[in-house]
């Protein structure tokens, strides 16, 4: 291999020294302008610091903790040197134990994020939900309910239904429902205004709590509930949500989760997907916890009022058949597994002997939505 001229930096000053470089079998020899040898670098230790590599320039280093460099710009020399040093464009291995800080800090992130999700956020969101004044919650609730009613309005089965108001107006039924809710409210330790209930005409059997002390019951649930106490059980469950401000807490929690995920996955690439999935999974996990709380509260309410909650079991079983098992997707499910809920109710046994509604009330409730047709 020919001797070629190059520039040598000793790593201590910025001055370049004009040198010639020459290759033996095992070394690269650096000679200064006066012919004296400046350095002898083993070929196997040579690395090119130009990334991505260039054909017309080599920036040679000898080790990761030595700043000296040799710059070679002779294309023919570069080509032949690359052939005798196969490792020249490989990266050096990191120092031993380089991975330790990575592992330590990853663990710290996992711990702090977990603590925040498990303890910080639920606590914080309940306190913040409680701090939000009732008027604000009521306003949010009104808007949410309005949106839900609008949603059911916009999907008419056929053209003649188009202008129909989906809210069921049966007066006697409405009064019976409110009377039961008043009994629940009287038992609560928390000072709260009367809970508002709205029955909506729909084929989906469902019921849910809305911020601001509101509850929505879908008419199909009235049809498939065979016993007044089954409906009362559902209402006690939703009352549990209302009493503990679950809808508002979930609302606040979602703000917190969104803030966290948007920080963790700063930029748009790919991260958006994981942020979306993560938020849904995390949100659903909190939601499952709340459902558990509400189930427990429904049992205690029914017991205190002396109503038997057992008729809720066949209703749950019916609902369980309607919603297919989600399998692996159950991390995204907002409710606990129906089989487990049924099992929990069976374990409780009889909670009383009374009926939540009289025969008359029950009949009025069941025809609530039919009167307006």
């Amino acid at each position: 291999m020919l001797k070629v001229s190059a520039r040598y930096f000793d790593g201590n000053s910025s001055r370049a020294r004009p040198v010639t470089v020459d290759v033996t079998d095992i070394d690269l020899i650096v000679t200064d302008a006066f012919g004296s040898e400046l350095a002898r670098w083993p070929l196997e230790a040579l690395r090119d610091e130009t990334h991505p590599p260039r054909e017309d320039e080599l920036n040679l280093s000898i080790s990761s903790d030595h700043e000296a460099r040799i710059i070679v710009e002779d294309v023919a020399f570069i080509r032949s040197l690359v052939q005798v040093c196969p490792l020249i464009r490989k990266r050096r291995k990191g120092p031993p134990g380089w991975w330790k800080p990575v592992v330590a800090w990853t663990a710290a992130v996992v711990v702090s994020v977990t603590l925040f999700f498990v303890y910080g956020l639920p606590l914080l969101s309940y306190q913040i939900a409680s701090l939000v004044p009732y008027e604000t919650r009521a306003k949010i609730g009104e808007e949410v309910e309005g949106a839900i009613i609008q949603h059911f309005k916009s999907r008419p089965k056929n053209k003649s239904d188009e202008k129909k108001d989906p809210v069921c107006k049966g007066k006697a039924g409405q009064q019976a429902l409110e009377k039961l809710l008043a009994r629940f409210t009287a038992l609560s330790d928390i000072d709260m205004p009367p809970v508002k209930v709205t029955v909506i005409n729909s084929k989906l059997p469902n019921a849910f709590a809305v911020p601001g002390g509101r509850m929505i019951i879908m008419s199909s649930l009235l049809d498939i509930a065979e016993d007044p106490n089954a409906l009362a059980g559902i209402m006690a469950h939703e009352f549990g949500h209302v009493e503990h401000k679950h809808p508002m807490s979930l609302f606040v929690t979602n703000i917190g989760i969104t803030a966290l995920f948007s920080v963790a996955l700063g930029d748009v690439s790919g991260g958006t997907i994981i942020a979306f999935l993560g938020q849904h999974a995390a949100g659903a996990a909190y939601s499952r916890d709340y459902e558990q709380d509400a189930d427990n509260r429904s049992i205690s309410l029914m017991r205190e009022l002396g109503y038997d909650i057992a008729p809720l079991i066949p209703l749950f079983e019916k609902l369980g058949k309607k919603s297919p098992d989600m399998g692996i997707l159950s991390v995204f499910a907002s409710h606990p597994d129906m089989d487990e809920r049924v099992k929990a109710l069976k374990d409780v046994g009889r909670t009383g002997s009374g009926k939540a509604f009289t025969e008359r009330e029950w009949n009025a409730i069941r025809v609530m939505c039919k009167e307006s047709v």
């Binding site: 990334h51 991505p52 604000t136 803030a259 966290l260 958006t272």
Partner: protein, 390 residues
């Protein structure tokens, strides 16, 4: 004075690097960004020659990753609490909402300034020229405090303290900057920035006054309360004259601030020295404007093509529409960044570097190494807040 910086980058190399970054970014749900960024920086750094030698980037993806992890631990608590607290404030009514937004802005702005200084410190310490490293002394917290103080004063003085803010920032940053054993020095002051910015500030204020006078006196709207102002402006925007004043005013203001921005860049460079040498820049506003106009045209063309594709797809079967929409989304996602680099960042860097001059290029050969502390880990906060283009 003679030119001393060249910037020579292969567009093919930039494009293929960006494509790789996007591809692996999707595969790894975004976590490739530390590696992608490092590769991109190596490419950009070594494409810049200062006094005939290439800059070298020494940072590693591992440092960036650990920096990110540290920032996550800190921010999990801070931002979680703050985010939830602000969510609550926003719900409690309009007064709190404004207060919440002010706190939010100040907090984020402070963090952003802090992160920016740390980012500069990290990048300087990972940059070498002729085997000697750059570094940034000073405290990020001091910088943040100064920047925050003068930002608040700028807001209170309706923009008139802005030149002082620029002077304070450049002063702290550049006087703490060093290359080996040679320190950079900045001799500029607020008066210098004021001479550059006063027309832009004055004219912008005049436009606001004209708009206010027109809306209140000519159109007769009542701009007393917060709510009324918002409603009145929504109403007034329906009036063509208001629209003309607002949009032409925004265009004039944008143009004036662009001129001032380029002039202030020249001023900063001209007031900066290293050792016995002084720098100068002859960057021309026209050249910057040309680059921006070209980028806008390319952007409009790109959007037109995508809209055209979607419209064409809409006439086809439903499955094809979904397919084409996803295709268009991927196209936007992949292409927009590449266009930004090829038509904005690379040309701007070329314009800036080619117009830079120095009194004594020999200075770069007279620097000795110092053993200065450098940050161990990367710019975590900056990454989390997405500060800096690359």
């Amino acid at each position: 004075m003679q030119p001393f910086v060249t910037f020579d980058i292969s567009k093919g190399a930039v494009t293929s690097r960006l494509l790789k970054n996007k591809f692996f970014g999707i595969l790894t749900l975004g976590f490739y960004r530390f590696w992608g960024k490092t590769h991109l920086r190596r490419l950009f750094w070594q494409s810049i020659k200062v006094g005939g030698e290439r800059l070298q980037y020494h940072g590693t993806a591992k440092e960036l990753f650990i920096g990110f992890l540290i920032a996550m631990v800190l921010l999990t608590v801070l931002f979680g609490v703050l985010g939830v607290a602000l969510g609550f404030l926003a719900l409690s009514g309009p007064t709190y909402d404004i207060l919440g937004q002010v706190i939010n802005f100040l907090f984020l702005y402070g963090f952003w300034q802090f992160a920016r200084y740390r980012l500069w410190r990290y990048r300087s310490s990972r940059t070498s020229l002729r085997t000697i490293r750059f570094f940034l002394k000073g405290k990020a917290l001091t910088y943040t405090g100064k920047a925050m103080l003068w930002t608040v004063i700028t807001i209170l003085t309706l923009g008139w303290a802005y030149p002082r803010l620029l002077a304070v920032r450049a002063d702290y940053m550049l006087n703490n900057m060093a290359y080996g054993d040679q320190g950079f020095r900045f001799t500029g002051n607020a008066t210098g920035f004021f001479r550059i910015y006063w027309p832009a500030i004055l004219l912008t204020q005049c436009i606001v006054v004209v708009l206010y006078v027109y809306v209140t006196l000519v159109l007769g709207f009542n701009l007393d309360g917060m709510m009324q102002t918002e409603e009145a402006f929504a109403q007034a925007m329906l009036d063509p004259v208001t629209q003309t004043i607002l949009y032409s005013g925004m265009a004039i203001s944008f143009f004036l601030f662009l001129i001032a921005r380029v002039q202030s860049f020249r001023y900063i460079v001209g007031q900066t020295g290293l050792g016995s040498a002084v720098f100068a820049s002859s960057l021309h506003v026209g050249r910057v404007l040309l680059i921006m106009v070209l980028m806008t045209l390319v952007g409009i063309l790109g959007i037109a093509v995508i809209v055209g594709l979607i419209v064409a797809a809409a006439t086809l079967e439903p499955q094809t529409v979904v397919f084409m929409s996803i295709g268009a989304f991927v196209l936007v996602y992949l292409v927009f960044d590449i266009l930004m680099y090829l038509f904005l960042i690379v040309p701007l860097l070329r314009a800036i570097t080619s117009t830079m001059t120095i009194s004594d290029p020999e200075i770069f050969e007279q620097v000795a190494r110092t053993s200065q502390d450098s940050p161990t880990y990367g710019e975590g906060l900056a990454d989390a807040l997405d500060v800096g283009a690359f």
